[in-house]
Each structure stands twice: as C-alpha cells, then as structure tokens.
C-alpha cells in the first residue's frame, strides 16, 4: 500500500496463514478493503457510490445468468420467452424486474459517482488513469445496456436497435458497410439478436475486469476526499475496515430499500409501454425513445438540425460520441491544481449549471419534438460543450481559489483535539500537538 502507516496483514488463524502462504489472497483483501487500507477520514456520502456501482454490477450478473437459463434468442421466440419467464418460471417475474430495474439503478448510481468525481476533482493528477478507466467502464455499460434492451424483441427493442445502428451510416463511405457488418444484415434481424445476446452476456465480465483495474489503480494514490487536500499523516486517515465497511454497509441497505420499492411496487415506471408490443418491422412507434439513461445523449444527437459543411445527422453523431470522448481529456482541460469544488467558488457555480444542463438535456431527449423543445436542447447542448471545452479551461487559468486547509485532520476535526486531550493540558500544548 502507498501509506507507510498502513497496518500489515497478520493472519488471525492457522487456516488463514496456511492459505496466505500459498496464495496471498487474504493479504490482498486485507490491504484492499480491510484494516490495512487507510482512507481519508472525512469522506462524505458521495464516496459511497463506487461500492454501490459494484453491488449493482453483481446484481445484474447474478440475475442475468439466471434469466439466460430461460431466455431464447430467436426472433420468433424471444418475446414469448420473456413472457414465459414472467408467467411460468418460478420467481421469474422477480428476476426480470430485478434485472430491468437493476440496470436503471446501476446507471443512477454511476451518474452520481461520476458527478462526485467532476465536483471534487477526482480526475486530476495523479488519478487520471482511474478516471479514464472509469469512462471505459461507462462506455461498456452503455453498450451492454443497449444490447440488453434489444433482447426482449419488443417494439422499442427493434426500433431502438434500428436507430442506434443507423448512427453508423452517418459516417461517409465506411458508415453503411460498418452498419451492415454490425447487424449481420440490412436491418436488425435474427443475426443481430443472437450476436447481441452473446455480447451482452460477455460484456459484464469485461466490465468486471476493468473495474478491478479501476480499483487497483485507485489504491496507488488512495481515495480523494472532499477537501481535495492530500493525505499527509496517519491522523488524516482511518482504516477501511471497520469504518468504511460500516458506512458503506448501512447506505447499501438504504439504496437497496429504494431499489426494492421500485422493483416490487413500480417495476414499469422507468420503462416504455411500447416494449410490451412484439417487434414489428413494418410499423414504427409514434415516439422512439431510448431508456432514460441515454436521453441526454439522444437530445444532443437531435439538436443538430442544419447541414453546415457536414450533414446535420453526422454532426449529431459526432457530437453525441464527442460528448463522452471529451471527458477523457478532462484532466488536461481543467488542470487547476486545486481539486475540490468546495475551494473553487466560480467552478462551483458553473458546476451547478452543468448539473441543471444535463437534467434539461435528459428531459429534452424524452420530450415530444416541438420547436420549443428543439431550441432548448440546442441551447443546452451548446452549454454542455462550452462548459467543458471553453469555460473549464478558462476557469482553471484565471480563477481565484479559496485557501486550502493545512491537512485533512485540521479541517475534519473541528476542535475535537482539545476536547479529547487530558484535562489540564494547556492550550499551547494542544496547539503544538495539532
């Protein structure tokens, strides 16, 4: 571990010593999430969302494997197999709803996790690679979710596949051949469905692998914290176990409660009724919309309505991919040495506008297309790109930041120091001990 005061692993029983001598897994776990991993003592609840993302990944994998025992990927049978799961398979309805709502919660949790990193500067040096691995996980999640949504072969499944693979045809020359190669045909059909099933089963394990790299690279510098100030001494940290296992534990319970409330009492709230209609290639639904977690990108795609050197459709596709790809460059776009938004008042204000902007984009992506909605999405898209490409670099260069605390413990302890000192200790002695 990177901190000198991290407690080394000491096997508690003969069995754990026997295993550890042969396969250093116990010491790995101890050093990663046990008493041997020092974590800043001042983390707030926004730091709980990484673990939550891991939990929902596991939920999706477990429910997904169970569902795959009953689903079959033929275009004639897929829709019926999902209904077979809902009606005939023991607890099948619970597995299906758990998997569908698990995907939504996975995205909710990951979005909060990402916005935490944006606000507290967790993407800045030396954590750039953690940030980029995280973006890779996010891209893999989007691909997995898209393919998973196609599998029930409902109206939205089919037409969503049609629209999203249609993006590729926006690229000149190579676009259409790539689209046909992806689909294995001219339109989403049997070939597309079976390969999407295969890849959808594979990707979560690729995600799990990248998650391990993500956590491994995190454990080199250790976690960031709300002040953005580096860990300087043992006073600044607490061992992960039992402090953060306890904090994560109860909060996981709370989030699982919210998840189960949705699963058992409003399981179709985040879905679209049209996906309960079997796919019909000859009948387009009135409004094709992706799942809610893709709506901001859908708004960006639809915002470009004018051909300007490049065709509007190509602008839309480039902007949509670009909106995520530019995030890879964020550590260099925003290279202010002050990490946390708490000490960057101008940045903080623009951050709030960014959050509102993304929510507006989400609303616009799902709303019925009218000139007002299009205009709003155009303004919101313009702000999104301006925020990352123009505003953040300018702020980083010119802002006045607030003075930082000298250390984490100085900011976190609020004077408990003198409270916990033995009675009669003089003030100067207390101050010297700080």
């Amino acid at each position: 571990m990177s901190f000198s005061w991290a407690k080394p692993y000491e096997p508690k029983s003969n069995l754990s010593k026997w295993i550890d001598d042969r396969l250093p897994l116990p010491r790995l776990v101890y050093g990663a999430i046990g008493g041997g991993y020092p974590v800043p003592r001042n983390l707030n609840y926004f730091w709980n969302f990484g673990v939550l993302a891991g939990i929902f990944l596991m939920v999706q994998i477990v429910t997904g494997i169970a569902l795959a025992m009953h689903y079959y990927s033929s275009i004639d049978g897929a829709f019926n197999s999902v209904e077979h799961i809902m009606r005939n398979v023991n607890a099948g309805w619970m597995l299906r709803y758990a998997h569908a709502n698990g995907a939504s919660f996975f995205f909710i949790v990951v979005y909060i996790h990402i916005f935490r990193s944006l606000f507290y500067g967790s993407y800045k040096a030396p954590r750039e690679l953690i940030w980029m691995l995280g973006l890779v996980i996010y891209l893999l999640m989007m691909a997995t979710a898209f393919m998973g949504y196609v599998l029930p072969w409902g109206q939205m499944s089919y037409w969503g596949a049609q629209v999203i693979t249609g993006f590729f045809s926006a690229f000149p020359l190579v676009g259409e051949p790539i689209r046909i190669w992806l689909l294995g045909g001219y339109t989403p059909d049997q070939a597309a469905l079976t390969r999407f099933f295969s890849l959808h089963y594979l990707m979560p394990f690729v995600i799990a692998g990248v998650v391990m790299l993500h956590i491994w690279s995190l454990h080199i510098p250790g976690s960031n914290n709300p002040t953005g100030v580096d860990v300087k001494s043992e006073k600044d940290t607490l061992p992960f176990h039992p402090f953060y296992t306890a904090k994560d534990g109860w909060f996981v319970g709370a989030v699982l409660t919210a998840y189960c409330l949705m699963l058992f009492f409003a399981p179709n709230a985040l879905g679209h009724p049209d996906n309960y209609i079997p796919a019909n290639p000859l009948s387009t639904p009135a409004h094709i919309v992706p799942e809610w977690y893709f709506l901001p990108f859908y708004a960006i795609l639809k915002a470009f309505t004018i051909d300007f050197i490049l065709p509007a459709k190509l602008w839309g596709v480039l902007a949509m991919f670009g909106s995520i790809l530019l995030l890879f460059l964020l550590p260099w776009l925003d290279n202010s040495p002050v990490r946390s938004g708490n000490y960057r008042p101008v940045f903080k204000r623009f951050f709030v506008i960014l959050v509102i902007d993304v929510l507006v984009l989400g609303w616009a992506g799902g709303a019925t297309v009218t000139p007002t909605v299009v205009a709003i999405s155009q303004i919101a898209t313009a702000y999104y790109f301006a925020h990352f490409l123009i505003i953040l670099p300018l702020i980083a260069k010119h802002e006045d930041t607030l003075p930082l605390p000298s250390s984490i413990s100085a900011s976190a302890l609020h004077g408990e120091l003198q409270e916990s000192a033995p009675i009669g200790t003089s003030k100067t002695a207390i101050a010297a001990a700080e």
């Binding site: 005939n88 398979v89 597995l95 306890a246 900011s411």
Partner: protein, 213 residues
C-alpha cells in the same frame, strides 16, 4: 462541509472552564457506558449492534440465494405437462402402442391371456428385480401393461411394441443396444439392465382413458 482553516494558523481554543466540565463528561462517556460497569461489558455491549447488523445482512444475502436456486425448478408450463391422457380404446388384445409422457416414450400393451399366464408362471426367485404381474398392473385390469419405454440399462428404447418387431427370447421387449431382454410383464430377464421397465403412476379415469402422471 469541512471547516477550512487558513494555512499557517494554529487552532485557538475558547471557554476553558466550560471545556473542563464537558471534557470530564466526555472522558467519562468515552469510557464505560455507565459508572461502575467494567470495561469488558461496555465493549461487548457495543459490539452486539455490529454483530446484529452483520447477521441481518447475512440473512439477507442467504435469502437472495433462494430465488436463484428456486428458479431452476421446473416452470409452471413444464409441470402442467406432467400428466398426459391416453385413449386405449383402439388397442386390441395382443397389441401395444407407443405414446409420450413427460417427453418420454411410454409402452401401453394389451396383454393376451397366454402372456398373462406366462408372466404369472415365472419363479420370483429367478428374477433380478422380483415383482409379480399383479404388482405391475391395476387389480381388475391385469391385461393392461403400461411401462416407460426406456431401457433401465443406459436409456435406449426397446423393441417390441410394433408389428413384427423383435420381442426377444422372453416374448416381451428386447433392447437392441446391449441385448437386455424383458418378459411379457416387462421384467428384466437377461442382459445388462438392472431393473424392470419402470411402471409410472397412472389411473383409469374411464374404461377407455388412462391418465399417466
């Protein structure tokens, strides 16, 4: 929100007298939960909540495993096909048909009096899997022999139901895969099969209809 302190400033304390009293209270409360109780009790009492929380989480985790295992049980549509009806009105004496139950072959044979007599004449002690014909049929329907058409050796479908099929040395069924020979009561007489052809649960719902399973 972290309380930020300008770099370089030392902490300043205020109101020392109040601190002293509160410190005493704190020192005390940081120790044992009540005056007079010994330290070990206090620690164990505090640990109890941790143990309780972890146990509940464990129960929850175990409870989640249940549906995962439960979903592998046969689904409702499979269970619905667990019993089949067979119309036996067209089977003449001496004839047999092959039908399907739980996606497996079933032999329904209308035994001739000669076959019944042959079956009853066999010495039970000489059978690998001793059973009388009466044990394998219904009381007043001794001529109806209903068995699975699956050889108990390794699962091939024995011959003998169709016209002209080889009925083996004992006049019952004969399995071509490894030579198991069954008699007129479908009991194993020679060859590698260990037990008689399985008689499934069945009932006559009328004189011409049998419900299997």
């Amino acid at each position: 929100m972290p309380h930020h302190v300008p770099i370089g400033t030392k902490l300043i304390t205020t109101k020392p007298i109040r601190l002293r009293v509160s410190m005493a209270t704190l020192e005390q409360s940081a120790g044992s939960p009540e005056p007079g109780a010994n330290e070990n009790d206090g620690v164990r009492r505090r640990d109890f909540i941790n143990i309780a929380a972890v146990s509940f989480a464990g129960v929850g985790a175990a409870a989640v495993v249940m549906p995962m295992l439960y979903q592998m049980n046969p689904s409702a549509d499979v269970l619905a096909l667990a019993s089949s009806e067979v119309d036996i009105s067209k089977i003449a004496t001496g004839q047999a048909i092959k039908t399907v139950w739980r996606k497996q072959p079933v032999f329904v044979r209308n035994l001739t009096p000669k076959e019944i007599a042959e079956a009853n004449a066999v010495d039970l002690g000489s059978l690998r899997d001793p059973q009388t014909l009466a044990e394998r049929t219904k009381p007043d329907k001794q001529n109806w022999l209903i068995t699975l058409g699956v050889c108990t050796h390794l699962g091939c479908i024995p011959l003998g139901t169709g016209e002209g099929e080889n009925r083996g040395p004992f006049g019952g069924y004969f399995c071509p895969c490894h030579g198991s020979a069954y008699d007129t009561a479908a009991r194993i007489r020679s060859g590698p099969a260990p037990t008689n052809l399985v008689v499934p649960e069945y009932a006559f719902t009328s004189d011409t209809v049998v419900t299997i399973g």
